[in-house]
Amino acid sequence: MNELIKKLTEAYGPAGFEDQVRDLIQPEVAPYADEIKVDALGNLIVHKKGDGSGLKVMIAAHMDEIGVMVTHITKEGYVRFTNIGGVYPRTLHGNRVRFADGTIGIISTEPLADRNKVNSLDKHFIDVGATSSEDCPVKVGDAAGFWREFAVLGSRLVAKSMDDRIGCVVAIEALKRLKETPHDVYFVFSVQEEVGTRGAQTAANALNPDVGIALDVTLTGDTPEARPMAVSLGKGTAIKVKDTGMIAHAGLVKLMRQRAEEAGIPYQMEVLEGGTTDARPMQIANAGCAAGCISIPCRYVHSQSEMVDGNDVENSVRLLVEILSKPIAL
């Protein structure tokens, strides 16, 4: 699985510009799909047919990542930028971005009298090696993602855009392992989650599922002085009960726990006090559906070094396969 994780996390795909990620996922899923399509916003929708006895289930993992967009190029060739999604200024200085064509840029910031403070985003700039606006290889409106290589640290895996390529990996792996299912399962690799769960909204409108399960990262409470949260890296897949945008369907949460217990899959109950996932638009699309989320615990979310544990990833795949291969009674 690490090879796939490396391939997907190192791909370019800021929100709104997911084509390169989609082009990598499509050949991975094609041999296992009964039908594949790409909708108007760019969601990749992969259908695996059931035996007719089950429900219509939508699984959503978002392909997009946070990033930046060029707003201005100075006379000297420096690039000013704005954020695409939740970019924190404290994660920027000295880090690198990559544009769609592979152009690399270094992010730096204007001098600050107090070294313990952080400049706001508009006081940062990107150096793409240009000597003036004339020879600058990027232009206003170009988008860039962060650039960092995938790394394996024992059981821990580190990459930029673990949020949410790791969810994509879980979906792909589950699809590969899912031999038989009673359900009509639609794996949606969604777009524009980081700017407001926009892709999953239109996909859910189109599919009108009975059950919606998002696959996404969640925060942890296991780093020094972390805000208390009963989720730790390596302690299992996380079953979401609630976040700031969605309260999971109680019956679905119960079913997830039950399937985890039956199969001896380590799991943790997740209550996330900041953020939401594609489960929110699924829950309230059309006439609504039973929605929930399987989360992969992740440290340093929205930095260039997002860390997950390989065992949690494996357990998330196992739980999803357990859920999808058996009846869902809610």
Binding site: K37, N43, G196, R198, A203
Partner: protein, 347 residues
């Protein structure tokens, strides 16, 4: 004198009170469209049938509402308290002339004369909730019967042209409406073109949401007037957009990432036709594109805008060449809009 811009900007249509502007637009387009209807929210939706060469279904949106005020109470001294309808910078309101209610009663947003201001008052901005409209009534009973709470007030600004610059109210978005009217008056397109003159954009993109849902197009363009902020600054920063530099193309704002394929089609078309254009500085703001894009199963959508200075004030300014180029560019973009631009094929 551009009579179309004059007529459209001098008509009133504060959000949710668009009847006057809607009737005007209806009369201006009726002879050039095959059908028109008004939906439950007041959107004017017209169909200009295509030649049949393309099976695309295309929506072009321009919101017809403008920012304005609503009367909330008649004070005992006969002045009118009001609430903003749409977003304002409070300091742009004082001293401006408005017309209130169906009878268009003239009034002024009163201000204490500079002579009477204390030193500290001179440094403060008066908040909108302490402003009053003075309609010259000596007390509450004199004002009663002329106006009532719930009445809308619109700004009074006469359209003028100074060379290539036009001055008037509500270019946001009567400039977009005028451009759309010009498109409807032209030759048929290869596809059926649905024109939506939408309501209540300024209070949250409300009209376009239901208009797009009912039309369910394959692709949509939004015509807008985007705030130009191009006054000189000391720092090396870009203007939002600048007057006279051509149509403004959106890539990303606070609520939408435009369809990259459409953006590429628009900029390519502009380059091929020698039409100047500018990429609007990505970041803040938002247009009807946000709700149209996310309607139902999703609609590829993009925005082309006339740059306008002093947006959301009683007086705006646009460049007439920018306006003409928006019409020209949008027309060219539509005439070359082939299905393969917005349809996705799996390899």
């Amino acid at each position: 004198m551009n009579e179309l811009l004059k007529q459209l900007t001098e008509a009133d249509g504060v959000s949710s009170n668009e009847k006057e502007i809607r009737l005007l637009i209806r009369d201006l387009i009726a002879d050039h469209v095959d059908e028109w209807r008004v939906d439950s929210m007041g959107n004017l939706i017209a169909l200009k049938k295509g030649t049949g060469a393309s099976d695309l279904r295309v929506l072009v949106d321009a919101h017809m509402d403008e920012v304005g005020l609503m009367i909330t109470e008649i004070a005992s001294d006969g002045t009118l308290k009001f609430e903003p309808v749409g977003g304002f910078n409070d300091r742009t309101l004082l001293g401006k002339v408005v017309r209130v209610g169906a009878d268009k009663i003239s009034g002024v947003i009163g201000a204490k004369p500079v002579h009477l201001l204390s030193a500290s008052e001179r440094r403060r901005v008066v908040k909108i909730d302490s402003m009053r409209i003075d309609i010259g009534a000596k007390d509450k009973s004199a004002a009663n019967g002329k106006v009532k709470p719930g009445d809308f007030a619109a700004f009074v600004t006469t359209y003028q042209e100074m060379g290539n610059t036009a001055l008037g109210k509500a270019f946001d978005n009567r400039a977009g409406c005028a451009a759309l009217i010009e498109l409807l008056r032209g030759e048929p397109y290869p596809f059926d073109l649905y024109a939506a003159f939408t309501v209540q954009e300024e209070v949250g993109l409300r009209g376009a949401q239901v208009a797009a849902y009912s039309v369910q197009p394959d692709v949509a363009l939004v015509l807008e007037c985007t705030p130009a902020y191009d006054l000189p600054t000391k720092e090396d920063v870009s203007p939002n957009v600048a007057l006279g530099q051509g149509p403004s193309i959106y890539v990303m704002d606070a609520v939408t990432i435009q369809d990259p394929r459409l953006v590429a089609h628009i900029t390519r078309t502009a380059a091929e036709r020698g039409i100047p254009y500018q990429i609007r500085r990505p970041g803040g703001g938002g247009t009807n594109t946000a709700v149209i894009q996310r309607t139902h199963t999703g609609i590829p959508a993009a925005t082309i805008a006339v740059p306008g200075r002093h947006a959301h004030t009683p007086v705006m300014m646009i460049n007439l060449e920018d306006y003409a180029n928006v019409v020209k560019l949008t027309d060219a973009v539509l005439r070359t809009l082939s299905p393969d631009i917005v349809r996705r094929n799996l390899n």
